[in-house]
């Protein structure tokens, strides 16, 4: 977009880059905030339906769809309290730390081919690394509140998040291995075509590991049944016991942002990303299958696809939340260390062997061969604007070909 502004409109470069960054930040912020509004309403409705109630019905017309806005106004009007023994600076800072971590991870999350805040070569790694930082805000909040309930909640959260990063990382490695790249855009584009190209259906091991990933993702964003950090029945409200008003709502926005983020990551890693189950755009002749040349309408369609998939993931999390009882802390640890980690490890080995002996898989039609996948990173790196030394790239290509043989 910056190139477009410089070349076509003649904007000075600094202004063009600033505009681009501003637009990207604005869009991401609105995805998080707007998404939180919609999802809070959806959560209320789903919870109500599962519990055989109606949920909000009045605010804003038929389905109470303005309920979250009313909640937001109520939160704005609430008194902002701070406990007497609180560590003032940390207490004020904690919600923003949480929210910033959630927000930063969105920078590297692509919504369609090249519709991404900043395309990172190590996108998956960046997202996982930043997602782990959200717990900082929670621990700071728990400590600074000067309340034992908050402290217990924060400690539980720390133990849980640190543990669940292990199986989560193991699950994430599998699509990275299949795609031969840590670039989220490349991983998504490798699954283009029919639904059978999705990594979910690549082989039985990836099918299992997707569910392990989802379990770990639910745990790492602290949703029920893993919401020990805020267990209402035991800890009042856990780490945000002492928070009210807008600061409290920042925690909630961070939580919903993270839910959306891990669901979007699941969609990109396992569910084909922005590629629909049926390659509609290709069948209609709107695009010739080369993602880099697809018109913007097709990319917009891809955006819709990804948002739909990520929202489906969030709705699934809500369904789980209102269906399953909360686990005890030892059960949470057992789930992580005795089930998720070994299953993920075995499935990882299985995918490796499958890739070795059956590289095409059972549904080989339309999927690039193993050699082509291996060369994927070269294509992706030579497609980036900074690739100017074609000579060394060719040498690399020759070397890789030699390795592949």
């Amino acid at each position: 977009m910056a190139d477009f502004l410089i070349d076509t409109i003649g904007m000075p470069a600094w202004l063009a880059w600033a505009t681009t960054a501003g637009v990207a930040a604005f869009l991401i912020l609105n995805v998080i905030a707007g998404g939180a509004l919609v999802f809070i309403w959806a959560e209320r409705k789903i919870a109500a339906r599962i519990q055989d109630r109606l949920g909000p019905t009045r605010t804003g017309g038929r389905f109470g769809w303005l309920q979250s806005l009313a909640d937001g106004i109520k939160l704005l009007a609430k008194e902002d309290l701070m406990p007497e023994g609180a560590d003032t600076l940390l207490f004020r800072l904690a919600p923003y730390v949480s929210f910033c971590a959630s927000f930063c991870a969105f920078i590297a999350l692509p919504f369609a081919f090249d519709v991404v805040g900043q395309r990172l070569n190590v996108g998956v790694f960046f997202v996982i690394a930043v997602l782990g930082l959200e717990v900082f805000g929670v621990i700071l909040a728990g400590y600074a509140s000067a309340s034992k309930w908050s402290l217990f909640g924060a400690m539980r959260e720390a133990a849980q998040v640190v543990s669940y990063e292990v199986p989560l990382g193991m699950c994430v490695v599998v699509p990275v291995m299949l795609a031969g790249s840590m670039d989220l855009v490349t991983i998504g584009e490798k699954q283009a075509g029919w639904m059978t190209n999705w990594y979910l259906f690549h082989d039985p091991f990836t099918f299992v590991i997707f569910w392990v990933y989802f379990t770990c993702a639910v745990a790492s964003v602290n949703r029920a049944p893993f919401d020990l950090a805020e267990a209402e029945s035991e800890l009042v409200a856990g780490f945000h016991t002492e928070y009210s008003g807008l600061r409290w709502s920042f925690f909630f926005m961070a939580e919903y942002g993270s839910m959306f983020l891990v669901s979007g990551l699941a969609a990109i890693l396992f569910l084909g990303g922005w590629n629909g189950p049926i390659p509609v755009a290709e069948l209609l002749g709107w695009s010739d299958g080369v993602a880099g040349k697809a018109p913007y309408a097709v990319r917009l369609l891809g955006c819709g696809n990804l948002l739909l998939k990520a929202s489906a993931g969030v709705l699934l999390m809500m369904w789980i939340r209102w269906t399953l009882p909360r686990l005890r802390i030892d059960q949470v640890m057992t789930t992580c260390l005795k089930y998720c980690t070994p299953i993920a490890a075995v499935m990882f080995a299985g995918v490796m062997l499958w890739q070795l002996f059956l590289p095409g898989g059972l549904t080989a039609a339309g999927r690039p061969r193993a050699a082509a996948v291996r060369e994927g990173w070269l294509e992706s790196s030579s497609g980036s604007p900074a690739a100017d030394n074609v000579g060394s790239d060719r040498i690399h290509r020759a070397q890789i070909a030699g390795v592949a043989e």
Binding site: P12, A129, K148, V162, M182, W377, S381, D388, V403
Partner: protein, 239 residues
């Protein structure tokens, strides 16, 4: 100076100033200031948790420097390992200072003097060695190929793709497979050792409370206490 200045024609003076600024350098200065300021604050703060926070700030700014230099993999590593690792430090800080005894750690004046001398000496050595490198003296941006993590990954499994292909007469370039394996085995040994040290030990002699709770003969140690996970301290209702 940089390509930004080339599109200056017909722009008003403030805009010209904005365009003339070396944004790369400005961002570098910003991150460097945050990193150094955070490091200084770690040394000056009394509260352990705030120290950890400042450490996080400093390390995150260092990650920002890596991202600015285009080393995305190293930057993400910095976030994952150092910033994420400080998380555990923070947890310990919170656990220690939950009692009011240790909330403020006062450093004696003598320690401050010794630490100051040590830090100054280290700084002098580092600055001297940094200045002594010829190519670092003038500012410049190296024209490199797009940084990717793949050459590192390939080199870790023993294939070097980041260098020109070996010719017949040159020595074959080795990857990092052996160091990688040594480090990973080392880490595995450390993990096994940690698990061994932290395992739930079976008591040889019963605790006094067990003797009090039951008539003699003293019962065998309860199996439940041996099987209880180490995290049960977090439940809060424990013992």
């Amino acid at each position: 100076m940089n390509p930004l200045t080339t599109c200056l024609v017909g722009v008003s003076p403030p805009a010209a100033f904005l365009a003339a600024v070396d944004w790369h350098g400005m961002l570098f200065l910003l991150f460097a200031l945050i990193a150094c300021g955070g490091a200084v604050m770690v040394a000056l703060t009394d509260n352990v948790v705030r120290m950890a926070l400042h450490l996080v700030l400093s390390l995150a700014a260092t990650a920002g420097l890596f991202f600015l230099a285009g080393a995305e993999f190293v930057g993400s590593m910095q976030l994952m390992i150092y910033v994420g690792g400080t998380l555990v430090l923070l947890v310990f800080g919170v656990m220690l200072t939950a009692q009011t005894k240790l909330v403020a750690l006062r450093t004696p004046a003598a320690d401050r003097v010794v630490a100051g001398i040590l830090a100054a000496a280290l700084l002098a050595v580092l600055v001297q060695s940094a200045v002594s490198i010829e190519s670092w003296r003038r500012p410049g941006r190296a024209e490199t190929q797009p940084p990717t993590a793949t050459p590192i990954g390939m080199a870790l499994v023993g294939v070097r793709v980041d260098s020109p292909p070996e010719t017949a007469e040159s020595r074959p370039r080795s990857g990092y497979l052996l160091p990688f394996e040594i480090v990973s085995v080392h880490l595995l040994v450390v993990l096994v050792g940690a698990a061994y040290l932290a395992r739930a030990k079976r008591r040889k002699t019963p605790r006094p409370i067990d003797i009090l709770a039951s008539a003699d003969p003293p019962p065998p140690p309860p199996a439940a206490s041996a099987d209880r996970p180490a995290t049960s301290i977090l439940v809060g209702s424990d013992t």
